[in-house]
């Protein structure tokens, strides 16, 4: 489970910047220089309050944002050494669904209402694996069984509205897993699921990680799930990564004032209690109308001092495998040496 140091990552994102050109000529700087590495079999938890750019970051990787208004201003996303952001549309299609699977945030609207679930599920199988109709249906049924949908074979002809919300989410998960992707991006994948099903899905994903070395990005508000599941965690604020660490280190010695207030608001840290949502922290999230030139957390930070409002801190290592973007040394209780 521990990070394979030295091995090259499957996915390596460097300095990704994504912004939206909004009506009236303004810009929304949704993602500002995000970098992260993802190794085979690793699970990266991504946390941050609503609007911190979690979804936009991940959607940018496969260019799944509406462009315009979105534009990827800069950055690289290397998958097996190939920059996804520089691929032509035809090459990118061979990555989407085949090498990278995506589970979207809203399972209700993410399935096509007029096509049968079986059809939608067999589409990537026929496209990427070249399966015939029969074989694709058999595999589709197996995938549905895998995510805990009973009598899957007989439900292939059903339409999305004939499934409950939780079942639709499981169909989405099955679809993302269809072609055995190397990387799975899961945007709040278990929100509509009850505890038993959630446990079953987590089991399935753990198995895929172990057996196939699938790497997972897990976006969530649920710090409990992250604590029990992730190898590494990236905390996002205002479209930036403010802290990045091994999961133990992060929970044991959170560095960033934002991370600290998130964790302080969590009643039980140990025991992997699930269902704990991010607590709300007083103050407003940043507006993102301009690229950050200071610490974007400063207006809400109890430790903010002059430098915070003048310079934007970059991620810097504090210990092995633990990086933070903050001018204040939380452990020592003093500003970091400049």
């Amino acid at each position: 489970m521990s990070r394979a140091a030295g091995r090259s990552p499957v996915l390596s994102v460097r300095e990704l910047c994504t912004r939206f050109r909004i009506q009236g000529g303004g810009l929304v700087h949704a993602v500002n220089g995000i970098s992260f590495d993802l190794h085979a079999g690793e699970l990266l938890g991504v946390v941050g309050e609503s609007g911190s750019g979690k979804s936009v970051t991940m959607l940018s990787l496969l260019k799944l944002l509406p462009m315009p208004p979105a534009e990827i201003a800069s950055g690289q996303a290397l998958l097996d050494g190939e920059d996804l952001l520089a691929l032509n549309p035809a090459r990118l299609r061979h990555v989407r669904g085949a090498k990278v699977g995506f589970i979207f945030q809203d399972p209700m609207a993410s399935l096509n209402p007029v096509l049968s679930v079986g059809y939608q599920l067999t589409e990537p199988l026929r496209l990427h694996l070249g399966l015939g109709r029969r074989a694709a249906r058999r595999r589709a049924a197996a995938l549905l069984e895998g995510v805990g949908i009973p009598a899957a074979e007989s439900r292939l002809g059903d339409f999305p509205h004939q499934f409950s919300g939780g079942m639709r989410q499981r169909v989405m998960i099955a679809m993302a897993l269809a072609c055995d992707p190397k990387v799975l991006i899961a945007d709040e994948p278990t929100t509509a699921l009850d505890a038993t099903i959630q446990a079953q899905i987590l089991d399935l994903l753990q198995r895929l990680r172990r057996e196939r070395g699938m790497a997972i990005v897990w976006i969530t508000h649920d710090l409990g799930v992250v604590a029990g599941l992730a190898d590494r965690v990236m905390v996002m604020y205002g479209g930036q990564a403010v802290e990045r660490a091994d999961v133990r280190s992060l929970y044991a010695r959170p560095q960033h004032p934002y991370t600290r207030s998130l964790l302080r608001a969590l009643p039980k840290l140990e025991g992997g209690s699930s269902g704990e949502r991010l607590a709300s922290i007083p103050g407003q999230p940043p507006t993102l109308v301009q690229a950050p030139d200071a610490c974007s957390f400063a207006p809400r930070c109890a430790h903010a001092f002059a430098r915070c409002r003048a310079e934007n801190p970059a991620l810097a290592p504090v210990t092995e495998g633990h990086e933070v973007a903050c001018w204040y040394d939380a452990d020592a209780g003093v500003p970091r040496a400049a």
Binding site: L62, L64, P66, P89, R93, H94, V95, R96, G97, A98, F102, F104, D106, A109, S110, L111, N112, P113, V114, L115, S116, Q120, E123, P124, L127, H128, F159, H161, Q162, M172, M175
Partner: protein, 337 residues
Amino acid sequence: MTHYIIRRLLFAVPTLIAISFILFALLDLAPNDPTGQLPLTIPAEAREQIRESLGLGEAFHIRYAKWMEQFFVNEPLNLIERAFGVEIGASEERLRVRSWATRSPVVDLIIERLPQTLWVVGLSYLIGILIAIPIGIVSAYRQYSWFDQLGTFVSMIGFSVPTFFTGLLAIIVFSVTLQWLPSIYDTTHRVTDLSSFWVQIKQMAMPVMVLALFNAAQISRFMRAAVLDNLTQDYVRTARAKGLRERIVLFIHVLRNSLIPVVTLIALGIPTVFGGAIITEKIFRVNGIGELLITAIQGADIPLVQTLSFLFAVLIVIFNLIADVLYGILDPRIRYG
């Protein structure tokens, strides 16, 4: 689904009865006299006889019942006899709704006029649809491109400029100035060979194009809106995330959803084809159904007006039903709802 259709059918019956009654009663109340157009020298007794012969001496409810019988029993029987060349009962004695103006059965008049209307108006509807759907798709997919801007401009014109204006403009340009096309539609023209076929095409060209522009403007806007609406749906992103080609995303995922409202709109518009495009028919002298109705109204030919209007009402009810059924076929949420 079957249940749903049966329920809708049952609901259609009282609707039609109510419409037929209102139509009959309204037009019957209108102060009209079938002998009003006759010369003044005709004596009063003769006039009375004419009225009697047209069945006007009887009470209102008897006349209504007879009209309904003619509409729903006699004329359908006549049509069956005509179509299959058989004779059912005493067909000669069967009472028929007759036009006051020509004294010939109303249904015969309609049948005589129907082909012109179906050819000109029906073809324009078909051409309008065939033009509109691709334009709507491309305009939505390339929103705000020059193609979309042009489409918006042209359909705004097609939509807001009335057909009597575009019709007259077309006549001035193509008939008067360029002298390419005839300005009057010759109903008696028969297609026998290639050159007479060409003449037919030429005389149909203007009315068909004027109406097609109008239809296409309407349907393409609707199609564009439907596609735009669907392109921003989450399921489109899911389809792209699977690695599907844009062509498949558009033509399988988006189109299937977008066509649901458009097909319904098209079905609802079909009765207007039978109704003829009154103005266009008048301008190009296509003596189709629309022309027939206008002449009947101007000549106060009450039986003809009653029958034609009720026929339109029946068609509207039927195509409403068809639209509902199509909706159910295209949208599984309704089919299994």
